[in-house]
Symmetry: none
DNA sequence: TGGGTTATTCAGCGAGCGTTCAGCCAGAGG
DNA sequence: CCTCTGGCTGAACGCTCGCTGAATAACCCA
């Protein structure tokens, strides 16, 4: 999962970036509205955390432009001031959630999780795919109740596949969502990680669709774990 | 848009119901957890506003039961208390938003709008032609519910035919749409692929129009799959 | 600073896939 | 009835794509 963090306060930025990285998100940081707009326009983020009081271009303007251009990425707004009328304006500009400073990092993370899972069409907190379960809060996954030892990138890969299970996901899409900016395009890391993941969760679970990408689906006749 | 309002405080209920009606929602009211659970289970709401401090059954329990039963309706939680740990628990139970009393009605309405807006974007656009179904998002096709194993080009061919079913499609048109660049004209790849596709979906489905091309149509007396 | 874990690169292998070709079949027209 | 054109099909070939194991580089924690 790749997040854009648009925040100008250096301290808060550093702290949030750290927290988001620890939660296994790939994070890009934009210190002003101009860069935020540019990045959100060019890179495929899974969610955006947007401070309203940004230099150069105001947060709401940035959001309005994205929405006018048809971007549907979920956006969580941060603001120092707490006037309700401002919140309403933020929502009507196309925000999906709104958080007033100061806040607990835990709450931000919880709201972010809710946003991400809802934007992928899921309602519950833990993702399941057949006998595979993944709990984004704890960053843990299990097969048949047996916990998996996954590295950070293996986890991110599995997370993304589970969020979009049933769909074919191209290599490029995976690269764009697992890593933050600038990454060498012609490299076979994805294949390597898919291979490793297969060794851990069973090789028949991730299907390869030649020329298109990979697809994760529950095997037939497999009861979804409650 | 139909909303379920689960709230026990009579004053707040009346006020919110009024505000929601004024905003042109159809509102049902549940004064306790039991009725809330029952209504949410039987009626197709577009969103639920759920107070946590409900009599008979606790709000979180109601939510958890819905989610366990596979209900994906967006839920906005209301609560009198505001501890961040409680909010985190609410989100992880499957809530989509969380609002602490007291709040401005405007803000509730704004959050509700955001919730409904986002949950609207999840329609699956699958193509169907008689018993053949094709889901472009999953890059998957099935006949009579039986999934097909198609190669990349077979899939593209079927996709194009299904998008233009009923029409006769010339070889040239197919070539132009299946391949990016110009392509060797005197080659019979298309015929080969049509042949292979016929083997997989049934030979009587793709009709040959001599001298013109091919046509895909639903067979007569065949009910379109829902 | 050093040891262990994790990420990335590289090269070779294997198989699936697209393409070609040759021969066969069917329909249309004389 | 024969011929000719356009379409079908099975088999074979060669290429590309994706997989894998091992080596190297980056990273992290003590």
């Amino acid at each position: 999962m790749r997040i854009l963090l648009a925040e100008d306060d250096p301290d808060l930025s550093r702290q949030l970036k750290q927290a988001l990285s620890d939660a296994d998100y790939a994070v890009d940081h934009a210190p002003d509205g101009e860069e935020a707009h540019f990045l959100g326009d060019t890179e495929p983020y899974d969610a955006v955390i947007l401070d309203l009081g940004l230099p150069k271009i105001d947060g709401v303007s940035v959001l309005e432009r994205w929405r006018r251009d048809g971007k549907t990425t979920p956006v969580l707004i941060l603001t120092a001031r707490g006037a309700w009328s401002e919140k309403v304006a933020g929502f009507d500009a196309g925000a999906d959630d709104y958080l007033t400073k100061p806040f607990h990092t835990e709450e931000l993370l919880a709201r972010l999780r809710a946003l991400l899972r809802r934007s992928a069409g899921h309602a519950t907190a833990t993702l399941t795919c057949g006998v595979i379960r993944l709990d984004p809060r704890a960053a843990r996954a299990s097969v048949n109740g047996e916990p998996l030892r996954l590295t950070s990138l293996e986890y991110r890969l599995l997370h993304y596949l589970m969020m979009h299970q049933g769909r074919v996901i191209g290599r490029t899409e995976l690269v764009e969502h697992l890593y933050d900016q600038d990454f060498d395009r012609d490299s076979n890391t994805i294949e390597v990680f898919v291979g490793r993941l297969r060794k851990k969760i069973g090789s028949d679970r991730i299907e390869t669709v030649r020329g298109l990408g990979y697809r994760l689906t529950a095997l037939e006749g497999e009861a979804p774990q409650p």
